[in-house]
């Protein structure tokens, strides 16, 4: 009896290994090795005419320390922080309230959030061009209300880029907060009220604490992409706002300096993984809430 059972198990196990081959091969070949190559590349030199020269150098990293690029990193981080701050400020209550709605409304709201998410990100940004354009919709409204007497020329400014980023990243935050707020047991809030907490205290000591993983997950999920969303800065910021992402893209398309772009990417990647580490350490979970 036991013998046949072991045999059956081992047969199944060998079948499993066959199933794993595509995953292993694909992941090693197209994810692991390319990422390793990126790090390698960041220590190489650019060739005179085209391509890469395989000699070790630290010049790329030294170049990042030049004020021009340090400043770009600083600007990117600042923009990412600003955008993430507003995303959290707007998205947290939204996701939290949504989780308190009836089952029917929850489904409707999820749909309403997903619809813009499914239309092209670029096209949604185009809507903001219409809003911000000089003499555009916003200017018309403000001037109509006599709040300003001339066009504000908001397009191609820093606020426009922030709005664009917040707008693009908001769904991630809402879904992350929503999925953690939905799991919140309302009887805990009631217990807190019952034990003497005002609704505000109950929120801070119980609801907020228990939905914090969702908020942090949303922060990670908005902060990380916001470092690389160069096309938003491009479209809504013109050439005025330069992000790390823009520099990387420029170094490749115009400067043809792959090693330097790789070094910039490597730094960005290290920043990213530090954030994810931090998230895991604080919340003690490996999965980002509401990621999928």
């Amino acid at each position: 009896m036991t013998k046949t059972k072991t045999k059956g198990n081992s047969r199944r196990r060998s079948g499993n290994i066959g199933l794993l081959i595509p995953m292993y091969v694909f992941t090693i070949l197209f994810v692991a090795l390319p990422i390793l190559y990126l790090f390698l590349l960041s220590f190489l030199q650019r060739a005179q005419v085209w391509g890469v020269d395989f000699t070790f150098t630290l010049d790329n990293y030294k170049r990042i320390l030049e004020p021009l690029y340090l400043d770009t990193f600083w600007q990117s981080l600042k923009l990412a922080f600003t955008a993430t701050f507003f995303v959290a400020l707007i998205g947290y209550p939204y996701g939290y309230f949504m989780a308190r709605m009836s089952a029917v409304w929850k489904r409707r709201m999820l749909l309403l959030i997903m619809i813009p998410f499914w239309t092209s990100a670029l096209i949604r940004l185009y809507g903001w061009i219409i809003v911000f354009r000089s003499n555009g919709v916003l200017d018309k409204i403000l001037m109509g209300l006599h709040l300003t007497d001339q066009p504000l020329k908001l397009l191609y400014t820093y606020p426009a880029v922030v709005v664009g980023m917040v707008y693009s990243l908001l769904p991630f935050m809402i879904l992350a907060v929503y999925s953690s707020a939905e799991k919140l047991d309302m009887s805990l809030v009631e217990a807190s009220r019952d034990l003497g907490a005002s609704s505000w205290t109950a929120f801070w000591t119980v609801s907020f604490r228990l939905t914090l993983p969702g908020l942090l997950s949303g922060v990670v999920l908005s902060f990380i992409p916001s470092m690389g969303l160069f096309f938003i800065a491009d479209i809504l910021g013109g050439n005025k706002i330069v992000l790390v992402g823009s520099v990387i893209q420029e170094q490749i398309t115009k400067g043809r300096n792959q090693p330097f772009a790789a070094a910039l990417s490597a730094v960005l990647m290290v920043l990213t993984s530090v954030m994810i580490r931090l998230y895991r350490k604080i919340t003690g979970t490996s999965q980002l809430e509401g990621m999928l």
Binding site: S187, E190, S192, R193, D194, L195, G196, T205
Partner: protein
């Protein structure tokens, strides 16, 4: 019993156009143990939540120590609740859970510590302060939930089926412990259960609820021996409900006689015989088709299904009750 501490007056409440409470009146005395007994959906939990302030009644008053607290926020009421699922805060350890109410009231730290220790000793879990709720068994969580509520010295403690999730043996033990605790603290308990045995074991008075109406409020003896309505008779005493000469009678199964005494005048056919819980139960069908159960301790072999026997009952054992199915308005 002491003086009146809590009164409910004509409490009405509807959810989505369904009336779940149809005018509840209740008065609890200082130090009294009152149980609200009823099947699920009878409105007992809603009543409790209205006392706690977690739900607002559509009409009626909640009066605590002579003050109308109907519209008060839950945190302002001198009332605490032990929730059905315990509702322990998962992100706080046991000591922080128990001390939560005091911390909210900004009681000095040293005093919180002292009182938490005292409360944990009261529920015999002194060593558990540093544990997290998910490291506790069901019974332990239960005790922590009680400690967390009583530490605030509420005027009234509300308990929503606190033993519902525990197994039978633990339930019995906790029943005794709760009763001891209540005596010791002298706090008024409003206790909810659907288990009539639990209600009878623990309560000073039992309120039987049915479809949003408080059918009867009385001592366990009154509710058991003098049910006011057929529902109470059935739910609490498992009594037979018989319709005879336009009257509705409740007769508990152990009072059905079949010993040939002079009261045994009715012809009854034995439908079924079963043995359960140390009791022999015999199901009879009367000549007019009504079914009736008799129970006896010990095994009685004389009667076989299909036989016809004479049965009856002493007049004192047949209680005249209001029929819930017919006399809707009389209640």
């Amino acid at each position: 019993m002491g003086e009146s501490i809590l009164q409910l007056q004509q409490i009405r409440k509807s959810f989505d156009n369904t009336e779940v409470l149809k005018g509840i009146d209740l008065e609890a005395a200082q130090g009294e143990f009152i149980t609200l007994l009823g099947a699920s959906g009878c409105g007992k939990t809603t009543t409790l939540r209205i006392i706690a302030g977690l739900e607002l009644p559509d009409s009626g008053q909640v009066i605590l120590e002579g003050r109308d607290i109907t519209d008060w926020e839950p945190n302002r009421r001198d009332v605490n609740t032990v929730f059905q699922n315990y509702a322990l805060f998962p992100h706080m350890n046991v000591a922080d859970n128990v001390g939560y109410g005091l911390k909210i009231r900004k009681v000095p730290k040293a005093e919180i510590e002292r009182k938490v220790e005292q409360a944990l000793r009261l529920v015999q879990l002194e060593e558990y302060g540093k544990r997290m709720p998910d490291q506790l068994s069901g019974g332990q969580k239960q005790r922590i939930a009680i400690a967390r509520a009583v530490i605030n010295e509420p005027k009234v403690l509300l308990l929503d089926e606190p033993l519902g999730a525990l197994d039978l043996k633990l339930r019995r033990q906790m029943q005794l412990e709760l009763k001891r605790l209540q005596k010791q603290l002298g706090i008024t308990f409003i206790y909810i259960t659907h288990d009539q045995e639990e209600a009878i074991n623990m309560s000073d008075r039992i309120g039987v609820m049915h479809e949003g109406v408080l059918e009867q409020l009385g001592t366990p003896n009154e509710v058991y021996y003098q049910p006011r309505t057929s529902y109470v008779a059935d739910f609490v005493g498992n009594a037979n409900i018989l319709h005879k000469n336009g009257e509705t009678l409740a007769i508990r199964s152990e009072n059905i006689r079949m010993d040939g005494e002079s009261v045994c005048t009715l012809d009854a056919v034995v439908v079924e015989k079963s043995f359960a819980g140390g009791q022999l139960r015999i199901l009879f069908r009367l000549a007019d088709g009504q079914l009736l159960t008799a129970s006896r301790y010990g095994i009685d072999n004389d009667i076989q299904p299909g036989e016809t026997v004479k049965i009856g009952w002493d007049a004192k054992d047949a209680v005249k009750v209001i029929d819930n199915d017919k006399d809707e308005n009389q209640r």
